[in-house]
Amino acid sequence: MSTTTADVHEEHLSQEEVERLAHPKRPLKQRIGVIASYVGMAAIVLYCIIPFYWMVVSSLRIPTEGRSTEFIPSPASLENFQAVFSAQNNFGRSLVNSLIVAGTTTILTLLFGIIGAYALARLRFRGKGAVLWLIMACSMFPLVVLLPPLLKMFSSTEPFTWFPYWINTYQSVIIPGLSFGLPLAVWNLTAFFKQLPVELEQAAMVDGCTPGVAFRKVILPLAAPGVFTTAIIVFIGAWNEFLLALTFLQDASMQTATVAISKFTGTTGFDTPYGTIMAAGVLVTVPLLVAVLIFQRRIVAGLTAGGVK
């Protein structure tokens, strides 16, 4: 809110003039406060960005300079990015794998999450509190609890010989991945549905819609920003997932990007190929950062407007 008003003023007045007009009695103290807040904000941004900057810089060096501590790469080179896609790393394939795993997890999660969340947000029934607690508890438990039985099951060892061999399959990561994706989606979407006034559906039903049609034609379009935001959050979670993929996807052609990066080896096999790893890290992160910037705008829109205009 305050940003917009400041922007409006800025068209006519400089920042100092705005400050002077807003607080005519204590201009000096106010100005110090403003400067201090800018310094503080710069410090926060630097704190967050500098390690990431180091990753980007390190990816732009020539491969032999992997551990160089120069703050600007000289000479700069894109060789590391070419090395990422060299045949031995299998990185292109792993990106596709990540996309398949994260995409499927997100779609399944939304599919079931939307209807479940709608019930939790709108309908009255006994046991709602218990369901909410169950979903919350499900998002809390450590993923590592799932590993011993699932590893045994998916590799069809002794008591589970009847179970198909699922190691190195997408479903071995997607299905356990629902255990954190689904609670997350249900929780988020419930919050979004609750923000929409129930009168919207009531009006639709007065106009002759069935509850199902009212949900589809009225609520779903209005909740689109919320659904979109949830999709991005779940997708990022699934994209960044490491433990399940590390355990169940052992074959190089099935690995997801996060596992592939952790297993990069240099040509010699002894020296860690930092340049290549950093380049791969940048490649994996940049799409997420772009998505997060969109998600930023969406969540602000979702929270402030919520389609209630």
Binding site: T3, A6, G33, S37, I44, V45, C48, P51, F52, G113, I115, A119, L123, F125, R126, K128, G129, V131, L132, W133, L134, I135, A137, M140, P142, V144, V145, L146, P148, P149, L150, L151, P176, S179, G181, L182, P183, L184, V186, W187, A191, Q195, V198, M205, N240, E241, F242, I261, S262, I277, M278, G281, L289, A291, V292, Q296, T304, G306, V308, K309
Partner: protein, 359 residues
Amino acid sequence: MATATAEPQSVPTTQGDGHKHKKNALSDGQARLAWILLAPTLIIIAVVAGIPVVMSIREAFFQTNTGVDPNTGLIAGGEVFVGLQNFTNVFAGQNPVQGNFGTMDRFWNAFLNTTFITIVCVILETILGVAMALIMAKAFRGRGIVRAGILVPWAIPTIVSALMWKLIFDSSGVMNRILGREVLWLADSGASFWAIVIADTWKTAAFIGLLTLAGLQTIPAEVYEAAKVDGATTWQQFVRITLPMVKPTLVVAVLFRTLDTLRMFDLPYGMIGPGKYRVETLSIFSYQEATQERYGPAAAYAIVLFIYVLLVAFLFVRILGADVIGDADVPKKKKKKKKGDEDEAGPPATALEMAGGAH
């Protein structure tokens, strides 16, 4: 806009109670519909989480049979029931390792590592996060840029950030160059512990800041104006107004950070490596046991971690529960007040975003 702001006053009284008792198309026969709609979610949760957890608990009482079958002379295979042996073995001291806390059983070493990493990280992250939120709340412009910057560490996959910090903490890396000393951060030393703490704090402090900022923005400016009129100092305003009013948001954020740090896996695994006892967490220990086909002990340690997490969550929720009641009268802009159990769904939503993202 006008309707939206007017609603909070009218909605809770007329709608909340009115529809509960009267005959209404929206509320009649809802229970059945609700359970039908929730069925897929509940079934999936039962299948992907409930059943494996039960199986894991069962597994904790068994061990892979490595003995020789007396009839055939071959390795027997299968599994044998061993009762509580997987749990009691941690007291037997069969597997002593040298860690940060002296020589002790590998389980207790991992347990203490997990506990201390969590305590140190969460305290640092909370302090830094609150400081960041206060700075952002004071800002006039550029808040969007800061918010975008803050999301950078959050969006980076943990394993990528682990490798990034591995390069920074390399013995000939940039951190040692800045410090002007040769600290062996990655060599499974005492410094490794702090390397993990620094990397984890970097990744998540800013996000606590973002959540806290959301809490700060619900505090009406009038409260501060009133305090100023009464002559309260800045510190008094912070302790008496800001902290209590932001507490519900902060407690939830801290709870989820705590649970997330307790199950930490990616960061020590990627940065220092598996089997490094100075930074080995319970998750890593359990994972290693499972991949070496010692399913019984792996399940036992995972269950201990699970109980630990539940215990911490329970303790937090007792505090949190009190806060939800105390929070009931805090004015919130554009937010409908719900009654009873529905209240719980409010604040944790944003915190859960972080919980999932940081896996």
